[in-house]
């Protein structure tokens, strides 16, 4: 069993282990908060990658699922009590609502061309944003509301962030390996086939619609789980979670890291969150840094120029080309010997 694990899996596990030790080395509140944000958005961006990178479906309203997750857990915990059972109930509500919405969006549009899904998700996200803004008695409107999270027995108040950090990291790692397994499974190969040439997949005997709807649901549910973790990490939620900017962030993270790589969105999330944090911090040096987006735009252009397939995608491509060259050399050597 141990030997059957790929080298890359060991590398990912090692990185996860190092990340697990980090809060014990650097127990800084802001640093932990930043890392939690990276993990949360990494999960969200990976869910987007499942749609875009593996199935070729473009969504402009992915934030809707993120928002559903965030509000489900926040409303449940504020209305009931701040216990683990309320938290779990919130997660279940998030999974059910996001699953149903993703299923309906998929069934209604995925038979048509991909841009219909993009337009419908954009419209639905707008609708959820409108509802969240207007239904103030439940959502708190634009101002949002704070809520308490369960007390952790035996954990000091100061160490609660460490627990949330570890929980978010563990969630990211588990979801990453789950999605990796999915994309490497026969089902994942069919999804790649659909992205590349859906008519060809159909000619091979596959009804493509259920595959597209399934991945829409899986992706929506994972995005909702990211929303749950986001709300829990902040103990606060407001209507910004439904904003189109959240979807655009996921898109940028996926493109920067590498579409269709899963690891790429994690890296993309780290680059975007760290850029935001450190570039904004430099505002005291020069006012231009207050507008971090301008500088981030330059970073984005450079990444696109030097890493056309995203950072991870380009590295993977180069490594593969190198491997193939070595193989050709071996074959040539063998031929020369014979």
């Amino acid at each position: 069993m141990m030997k059957r694990l790929q080298t890359s899996t060991w590398v990912y596990l090692l990185i996860a282990f190092v990340l697990m030790l980090l809060p014990f080395v650097k127990d800084d509140r802001w640093f932990l908060f930043l890392m939690i944000q990276i993990f949360v958005f990494a999960i969200f961006a990976m869910s987007y990658d499942l749609l875009l990178g593996y199935t070729g479906i473009v969504s402009f309203g992915h934030a809707m699922f993120f928002g559903i997750g965030a509000y489900s857990v926040a409303v449940t915990m504020s209305r009931l009590d701040s216990t683990f059972s309320s938290f779990l109930l919130g997660v279940v509500v998030a999974v059910i609502i996001s699953g149903i919405v993703a299923f309906l969006a998929g069934v209604l549009t995925l038979k048509l061309k991909s841009h219909y899904y993009a337009m419908l998700t954009l419209a639905l996200a707008g609708m959820f944003l409108y509802i969240a803004e207007r239904w103030r008695s439940v959502t708190g409107g634009n101002d949002g509301f704070t809520f308490r999270i369960p007390e952790l027995p035996g954990v000091l108040q100061d160490h609660r962030n460490v627990v949330i950090y570890l929980f978010t990291l563990l969630s990211m790692v588990l979801l990453f390996f789950g999605m990796k397994r999915l994309t490497e499974s026969p089902l994942g190969r069919v999804l790649v086939g659909i992205r590349e040439n859906d008519q060809r997949v159909e000619s091979l005997g596959f009804r493509i619609m259920p595959y597209k709807v399934l991945i829409s649901v899986v992706s929506g549910v994972i995005a909702a789980l990211a929303g749950v973790l986001y709300a829990v990490s902040l103990r606060f939620v407001n209507t910004q979670v439904f904003d189109i900017e959240v979807t655009l962030d996921a898109l940028l993270m996926t493109i920067i890291g590498g579409v269709g790589t899963l690891v790429g969105p994690i890296l993309g999330s780290a680059i975007m969150n760290l850029s935001h944090h450190f570039l904004s911090d430099l505002a005291s040096v020069h006012w231009i840094f207050q507008r971090w987006v301008i500088l981030f735009g330059i970073i984005f252009i450079l990444v696109v120029i030097f890493f056309p397939n995203g950072i991870v995608g380009t590295i993977q491509k180069k490594m593969h080309e190198r491997k193939m060259k070595q193989r050709v050399k071996q074959v040539e050597k063998q031929s020369a010997k014979n």
Partner: protein, 236 residues
């Protein structure tokens, strides 16, 4: 006469506003290799796509073993044992050769595994480049992969669209040899512009011109009819 394996009856197919197939009729008998010949734009590819349900006929009928499949979805037609090798080969570029084959395998039973082994013996390059992404194969290798992939399931009828297109003569020869072996196992409908290849493989032919089926018969007849070859195929 026995019931034909495939029968296309007065099929009319439109692509957007263009009337591509105009009352096409043709039959394919089990065990034969039937050629669809004609100049570019004659409607040969659309005929195959109409059979597969990718461009369904707006009127007329397509029958497989007597069953009307005119309005049947493509995936159900494929499950009836109809393999399709499209003109652009339809290789999944990011999947390896092995993954391309696995995606196509509807079952993992012994018969499928046997056919896979047989395909790999027929096209040894596929075995050699098993882990290579489909996009990195040469044109000939992509064609071999496309044929092997369509044939890996139990296939009653194989539709092959211009397998020699863009290939070097030496590779075309390999493809001819492979199709010769495949036709011993299944019925084939072959669209081909390369008359040398068509002549070596075909039992029967249909000539299409401007969406109409204008002539049909046995290959021997076509070989002897210089006028027909000159008029519709530009040979002579």
């Amino acid at each position: 006469m026995t019931q034909p394996l495939l029968r296309v009856e007065k099929a009319n197919t439109y692509i957007e506003q263009f009337h591509i197939l105009q009352n096409i009729n043709f039959e394919v008998q089990k065990g034969e290799l039937t050629l669809l010949l004609g100049r570019n734009g004659a409607g040969k590819t659309t005929t195959l796509r109409t059979i597969m349900g990718l461009n369904p006929a707006t009127s007329g009928h397509v029958f497989i073993k007597g069953e009307d499949i005119t309005s049947t979805p493509t995936y159900k037609i494929a499950k009836k044992g109809i393999g399709y090798v499209p003109e652009d080969q339809g290789i999944f570029y990011e999947l390896t050769v092995g993954e391309n084959m696995r995606v196509a395998m509807m079952h993992e039973d012994d018969a499928t595994k046997e056919r896979l082994e047989w395909s790999l013996e027929l096209f040894p390059d596929l075995k050699k480049f098993w882990k290579k992404p489909g996009g990195q194969l040469s044109g000939g290798q992509k064609q071999m992969l496309s044929i092997a992939r369509a044939f890996v399931n139990e296939t009653d009828l194989l539709l092959i669209d211009e397998p020699s297109k863009g290939l070097a003569p030496v590779v075309v020869e390999k493809v001819i040899e492979a199709v010769e072996k495949i036709k011993d196992h299944t019925t084939v409908v072959l669209v081909e512009q390369n008359f040398y290849m068509a002549n070596r493989l075909g039992d029967r032919f249909y000539i299409l011109d401007d969406g109409l089926s204008v002539h049909d018969g046995y290959m021997k007849e076509l070989n002897e009819n210089e006028e027909l070859k000159r008029k519709y195929l530009g040979i002579g």
